[in-house]
């Protein structure tokens, strides 16, 4: 189908199709969503690969992310600078990993990054406490939070260093029957 679009060259669209789990149509739709977030910043013409990044505040305003308690961490994990400024490539990347076609391994990598608040490649107690507080909207008492974090580390920690490395996390995720369906945002 010869779409008379001028946003991307054909080679670019093919590359996007190869590297992500989206079709051409979906990539064009994603571009229009990206453009909607900041029409004056995002150019319509991407054929010469402009260097345009949208700040965190604009991205987390999207309806798909607005109410998600982990929205900041999600956007930060996919940004190169770690501050949450996403270029279009990173934007597509994010939704590609969160789509239903992404494999389990890939989702597990990014889930680990999202829950790792202090970005030290381990899920330590502080990371767990922050996760828990966002999950329950801070309704658990501090003792309960302490107890749950202890139990979580106890259950999942295989190498006994009192924090969860990626290996521990991946092993625990493999036993979750609905991880693929919960770690999914539809756009």
């Amino acid at each position: 189908m010869g779409n008379k679009q001028t946003i991307f060259t054909d080679e670019q669209l093919d590359a996007y199709q190869d590297c992500t789990f989206f079709t051409r149509k979906e990539i064009l739709r994603l571009h229009s969503r990206y453009h909607e977030l900041a029409p004056h910043l995002v150019p319509m013409d991407y054929t010469n690969e402009p260097d345009c990044k949208l700040p965190l505040a604009l991205i987390v305003d999207m309806p798909e992310l607005k109410e998600n308690p982990f929205r900041n961490r999600i956007v930060e994990s996919f940004s190169e600078d770690g501050m949450g400024n996403l270029s279009f490539n990173e934007f597509v990347d994010m939704f590609s990993v969160l789509s239903e076609m992404a494999p389990r391994e890939l989702k597990a990598i990014y889930a680990f990054k999202i829950y790792d608040f202090n970005v030290d490649n381990y899920l330590c107690k502080e990371d767990l406490e922050k996760t828990l507080n966002r999950l329950t909207k801070e309704e658990l008492t501090p003792e309960e939070v302490e107890l749950v974090c202890e139990k979580t580390i106890e259950e999942a920690d295989l190498d006994g260093d009192n924090k969860l490395s990626y290996a521990d996390f991946e092993n625990m995720i493999s036993r979750a029957p609905d991880f693929l369906s919960t770690f999914h945002i539809r756009i």
Partner: protein, 626 residues
């Protein structure tokens, strides 16, 4: 990429779940309701083996996995009943209709000792009585294809074609039971496989809730808040269990003794409540059978008295037992299990008592030499066609169950929602909207299905009636779920419970099987009606009809029935069973060993991975751009 190859080693367990997972999609609520109208149809399962993930996912997303398992269970029962009806219809109903229309319609004897049966009332019938007859299974319905009494002992023998209705009737009943058992067992096998591969819910509870509890697809503030509360409650349940365990461990000897004696006492009290319910059902059934000749609305109430008492008992006794549970102080999961067991025992016991009372009345307490049962081997005065009577009781139970459900929906749930939504007084807010309680609803389904299995021999069209009933129930429950119920904050664990409900269903099947075997092999069929009127028991038709078979087949069948065959067969099946049990235990052990090996492999590979992860962080971008 090398990373992915390394990662693939450790996701052996992961591939199991892609089949079981349902993709949950999120849409705005208007689109949701449109999708419900378009997609939710119990017969959709004929078109696609997997029911629409969107709609089932909606149940799961909104109301928790337990509700989803309820609707899946209901769909399974609809299909079971529909296929059973096709079986009965094809082999018993349609041949009967054809032979009756080609030959003569079945005639009733008007003379003889035990052979007079007059189901149709004499004289003019008032028009509203047709409706009463429809509800109570008497009158025009009693002598119709609905009940056993109308079927004849027609044997058609032509040069090219022969058909023996009594043999067809009996073999269809036997095959129906075997078919239901096969479906049940295969479904239980699937449920067990799921339960085993997910490794039980106790193992990594907290970590799974924390890391996979959040649904990233949640849209909207309301849904988010709901999900947060849901996770909070799940964690609370587990924390409560921990607290109770600690508390139980710290009890002094004296307190332990008090607690255990309280538990024993409440066990006996619960048993006493169940016994009281059973006794009242016994009395109600006797009263109803003794006063079965009353007319009009009062007659209808007397007819439905056993069903009313059973329903009232099934409602009151669990309520009282819940109060008892406060004394017992079990952990939350144990409380749920104990309450479920009590409800199950109550329901099945009430059905058993009803059947026992009927047997009592029909066979004069099993005493053939009693005055009333001397002549015809059963109480002919009260029950000229006892099979139809039993069929009528099951028919009434099924109908009453449906009527009560519809009445509850219209008279209780809708008004409750109207009141709660439109008034703002404290009482209505405290009561709140209805919560969809999964266990009691599933037990209701199991009970209804057991009643149908028990009554299928005496009321061949009961599976069709049950299909219609379950379809109506499906839509009623769907409506009540989405319009009247609030999402449950405490969700029900569905993986282990689906196995439990199937086990209870199997137990109900066993009860129905016992009833069928007893009726076929021991009880004397009515001499005034039915396809077995000239035999001493229903099973006799099978040896009789083998006389017409060629010699070789006869010898073969007698050989199979003889001891020379059955003893070696049972010895062989024991051997096969031992082998299968040994195989299962070996597999169990190898699963445990493989899991331990998997851990070791993961550790060693990811030790290397962690080094790479830390040193070469740019390798983490698996997606490349030109």
């Amino acid at each position: 990429m090398l990373l992915f190859m390394l990662l693939n080693v450790c996701t052996v367990g992961g591939s199991y779940f892609t089949q079981i997972e349902l993709n949950m999609m999120t849409k705005s609520s208007d689109v949701v309701k449109n999708d419900i109208k378009n997609n939710l149809n119990p017969f959709n399962i004929f078109k696609t083996h997997k029911t629409s993930p969107l709609t089932l996912g909606l149940y799961s997303w909104n109301f928790g996995g337990g509700v989803q398992s309820y609707f899946l269970f209901l769909k399974f029962l609809v299909i079971l009943n529909f296929v059973s009806f096709l079986l009965i219809g094809g082999f018993v109903l349609i041949p009967s209709i054809v032979f009756n229309s080609l030959g003569e319609p079945p005639k009733l004897e008007s003379s003889g000792n035990c052979t007079i049966y007059e189901p149709n009332p004499q004289g003019l019938v008032v028009f509203y009585e047709y409706f009463l007859h429809l509800l109570s299974g008497t009158g025009f319905i009693e002598y119709s294809y609905m009940f056993y009494g109308y079927y004849d002992n027609t044997v058609v023998e032509d040069s090219s074609f022969s058909y023996n209705i009594p043999v067809a009737y009996l073999s269809t009943a036997v095959f129906y039971f075997a078919f239901c058992e096969y479906l049940l067992i295969s479904r239980m096998g699937k449920a067990t496989r799921v339960a085993v591969t997910t490794g039980g819910s106790d193992v990594s509870n907290y970590s799974l809730i924390v890391f996979t509890g959040w649904d990233f697809g949640c849209l909207g503030g309301k849904a988010t808040k709901l999900k947060q509360r849901n996770i909070y409650y799940r964690l609370q349940v587990d924390l409560e269990e921990e607290r109770l365990k600690k508390h139980a461990a710290s009890l002094t000897m004296c307190k332990k003794v008090t607690l255990y004696s309280l538990r024993v006492l409440s066990f006996f009290v619960a048993l006493g409540l169940v016994a009281a319910a059973c006794y009242s059902i016994f009395e109600a059934t006797k009263f109803s059978q003794d006063n079965s000749d009353k007319e009009g609305i009062l007659g209808l109430i007397y007819e439905y008295l056993p069903s009313i008492v059973i329903t009232a008992g099934n409602f009151l006794v669990p309520l009282l037992c819940d109060q008892l549970a406060l004394l017992e102080k079990y952990s939350p999961s144990s409380t749920v299990i104990v309450a479920l067991l009590r409800a199950v025992i109550l329901r099945l016991a009430s059905l058993c008592i009803l059947l026992f009372t009927l047997w009592d009345q029909i066979t004069c307490k099993g005493n053939q030499n009693d005055d009333e049962c001397n002549e015809c081997h059963y109480n002919y005065q009260e029950y000229p066609c006892w099979e139809t009577r039993v069929g009528q009781e099951m028919y009434k139970l099924t109908l009453f169950d449906l009527l009560v459900n519809i009445a509850l929906l219209v008279l209780v749930e809708f008004p409750r929602r109207m009141v709660v939504d439109n008034t703002s007084c404290k009482l209505s807010q405290w009561v709140g909207r209805q919560e969809f309680v999964v266990p009691s609803n599933v037990l209701g389904l199991v009970y209804g299905q057991t009643v149908v299995w028990t009554g299928a021999l005496f009321c061949p069209l009961l599976p069709l009636l049950n299909t219609a009933k379950f379809v109506i129930l499906f839509y009623c429950k769907k409506i009540t779920l989405f319009y009247n119920c609030r999402p449950a904050l405490r969700t029900f664990r569905s993986t282990s419970s689906s196995f439990f409900f199937l086990a209870v269903l199997l137990f109900g099947w066993i009860i129905a099987l016992v009833v069928m075997i007893y009726s076929v092999a021991v009880m004397h069929p009515s001499q005034a009606c039915g396809p077995f009127r000239s035999f001493d028991n229903m099973w006799q038709i099978v040896p009789n009809s083998t006389y017409y078979l060629p010699d070789v087949t006869k010898e073969f069948i007698f050989f199979i029935g003889s001891q020379a065959f059955s003893v070696p067969l049972s010895a062989l099946s024991c051997v096969v069973m031992c082998y299968v049990i040994a195989l299962a235990s070996i597999h169990g052990r190898s699963v445990v060993m493989l899991k331990a090996q998997l851990k070791l492999v993961c550790l060693s590979f990811f030790f290397i991975y962690n080094q790479m992860f830390n040193s070469f962080s740019c390798l983490m971008q698996p997606i490349c751009y030109p």
